[in-house]
């Protein structure tokens, strides 16, 4: 079939899909069925940026798009669509004219880690940004080393890798390889020398399983390390967070650039740095990048603030089956250091499909909530008893904890008997169950 017809079909089905509220995979799937070699017949822009990794890929992708657009580039991006091979195909074909030329200066694509090997058969990224690899949706992903192996299969020598030097696993893609650019966070006032996390996936070198020597940690196992056996280490970085002042909501890049952060945390600082790095690599001046990042407000912000029966309330969207994302929310609550009530809801376990697997709640540092400012903890949702059991193995006093399975009752209790500020910690898949009951 002629490419113009496939492109037309792709566009029409996308339009119809949008009208009826269907996802973005179908048009791409049909297009690839009609011609599996369609990508050989279209003209892609010179620059293709792909972002993958366990956490932060959506935010990073969104920031890259905005920086490039605000600097006058025409950008094709899948920030609203699917990040699997077919969804990416849909977006790219929709960006084509009928001669098959993509009408964009640059493509910025978020890619599901497990789909990189399929996607990269269709086209090769110029830059591949890998934010980090850690425990995430393991019912589907297996474990981080498994994902490492899958991505490894997809990487060819001609792709420039943009890597987080501070993550021992994802930085291993750059081990003894050319064509790698590293970014990372230097030692700062937040860095610490003991890893107190519930688990430590980088105690041993991911390459040879020798004990790693750490200089410091920035969070979890992200920091500066050296393997005395094989030499795998935090490499020198081209782009750096040189200071992080969370109390002032500020992050400093490359010594010179002060950026005001909206929701300041080491996690978002890393995402910003990843975006900054790759945008500079494609030719945008640092100063211009920083102008966009300053006071940047995420489109799909994971944080939502509102009033609840006179209390200041905040919903901190975390991801089920992802302990680091939960820790991120809990650390925020503790860092705010205000008298508060914390509501934790696990009603549906998986974000994608049904499972009753709750092992991941043992990986979350709930112990963080033993701080004095946390006055009350309400556990809720269908899987509340798994949560209660997990809390039973922390040092948090039992009288602070209330377990309520029914969500209406949870809301009544939260409204009527909360102490101080209210923080609701749950997954985006469960968050409307709270918000709709307000």
């Amino acid at each position: 079939m002629k490419k113009a017809i496939i492109i037309l079909i792709n566009k029409i089905i996308s339009k119809i899909g949008k009208l009826v509220g269907k996802g973005s995979s179908l048009p791409g799937r049909i297009s690839l069925k009609l011609d599996k070699d369609i990508f050989k017949k279209i003209v892609l822009p010179d620059k293709i940026i792909v972002v993958t990794g366990s956490n932060g890929k959506t935010s990073t992708t969104e920031m890259i798009c905005n920086i490039l657009e605000r600097n006058g580039l025409r950008v094709g991006c899948n920030k609203e669509g699917s990040n699997q091979t077919e969804g990416v195909t849909t977006m790219i074909l929709n960006a084509c004219n009928f001669k098959g030329i993509v009408q964009k200066d640059v493509l910025v694509i978020e890619s599901d880690e497990r789909y990189t090997r399929n996607t990269f058969k269709l086209f090769k990224p110029t830059y591949l940004v890998i934010t980090n690899l850690y425990r995430d949706q393991m019912t589907r992903n297996g474990h981080p080393e498994h994902i490492y192996n899958i991505i490894k299969d997809a990487i060819t020598d001609d792709i420039s890798l943009v890597l987080n030097a501070d993550d021992p696993l994802s930085s291993l893609f750059g081990y003894k390889r050319d064509n790698v650019i590293y970014y990372g966070m230097n030692r700062n006032s937040l860095s610490h020398t003991v890893n107190k996390s519930v688990y430590n996936d980088s105690k041993y070198c991911p390459n040879c399983k020798t004990l790693l020597q750490y200089d410091y940690y920035n969070y979890a196992h992200i920091g500066s390390y050296l393997c005395p056996q094989c030499g795998h280490k935090r490499e020198n970085v081209t782009y750096a967070i040189t200071d992080l002042r969370l109390s002032e909501g500020q992050v400093i890049f490359d010594n010179d650039y002060n950026i005001k952060m909206n929701m300041s945390s080491p996690y978002s600082a890393y995402n910003m740095l990843a975006a900054y790095s790759v945008c500079n690599l494609v030719g945008i001046e640092k100063k211009q990048i920083v102008n966009v990042l300053n006071n940047y407000v995420m489109q799909n912000d994971r944080v939502q603030t509102f009033k609840l029966n006179g209390h200041n309330a905040m919903l901190l969207t975390s991801k089920h089956e992802n302990s680091i994302s939960y820790n991120q929310s809990l650390e925020y609550v503790v860092r705010e250091n205000k008298d508060c009530t914390v509501v934790i809801i696990i009603d549906a376990v998986s974000r994608k499909y049904f499972t009753s697997e709750t092992s991941w709640i043992w990986d979350i540092d709930f112990e963080l909530l033993k701080e004095k400012n946390v006055k009350k903890i309400i556990l809720a949702g269908k899987y509340v008893y798994d949560l209660v059991q997990r809390f039973d193995y922390t040092d948090i006093p039992k009288e602070k904890i209330l377990a309520i399975q029914d969500l209406d009752e949870m809301m009544k209790e939260t409204k009527e008997n909360s102490i101080g500020n209210i923080y609701v910690v749950t997954c985006f898949s469960d968050r409307m169950k709270f918000l709709d009951r307000r």
């Binding site: 393991m138 519930v198 688990y199 041993y204 499972t355 990986d363 059991q389 039973d392």
Partner: protein, 233 residues
Amino acid sequence: MKVKILHLYYDLMNLYGEYGNVKVLERHFQDQGFAVKVDNKTLGDELNFSQYDFIYIGCGTEKNLEHVSKHLANYREDIKEYIEKNGLILCTGNSFEMFGKSIDDKEMLNIFEYTVKRLKDRKTSDIIYTSDILTNKIVGFVNKMGEIENNYHNLFKVEFGIGCNKDNKYEGVYYKNFFGTYVSGPILARNPELLKLFVIKLCEKENIKYKEIKYENEEKAYKLVLTELEKRK
């Protein structure tokens, strides 16, 4: 009354919250009146099994399993003796793979006859299993990359989900007081009766009368998961 638990490869084989198994065992042994000591051991440590009342090994990545199996191979005779002398040992997730003859062409401890074939892709599944030694069903999740062949000491029957091998409906290894299963994560936290079985076994070993204690939340959590999984059969 002292009890010593060995949490073997506590760091490398702790992929799905498996340390939870040791936590609940410790607590439940304490509730029976035992003074419990947990030893965490890993690569490079000297191992002396005979001093322990319970040995636990959890799940790890395929690469981690390869490394710990080389370490444990140095103690092959000792661990075999521990098992033959009715020592209590629980291996969850892929850790029991190394007690067989081989994983593909790599030789393993050769304590049991089974062999392991590495799969190209992972196999995952919610599961419901039954067993002759339990009244209640086992619930949990399997997240594995191997298939077991020639296993003559099955622990579970598969009622829902996947077993050790796609050609039959069995799962796990049960020999004397050796318990192995692919079920990953804190299986004891999620299956009160299995936990109780180990507590009773220990009481018997120490000649102590088992005290019946109600753990309401654990029962409720178990019942909910079972109900949810039953719906999907």
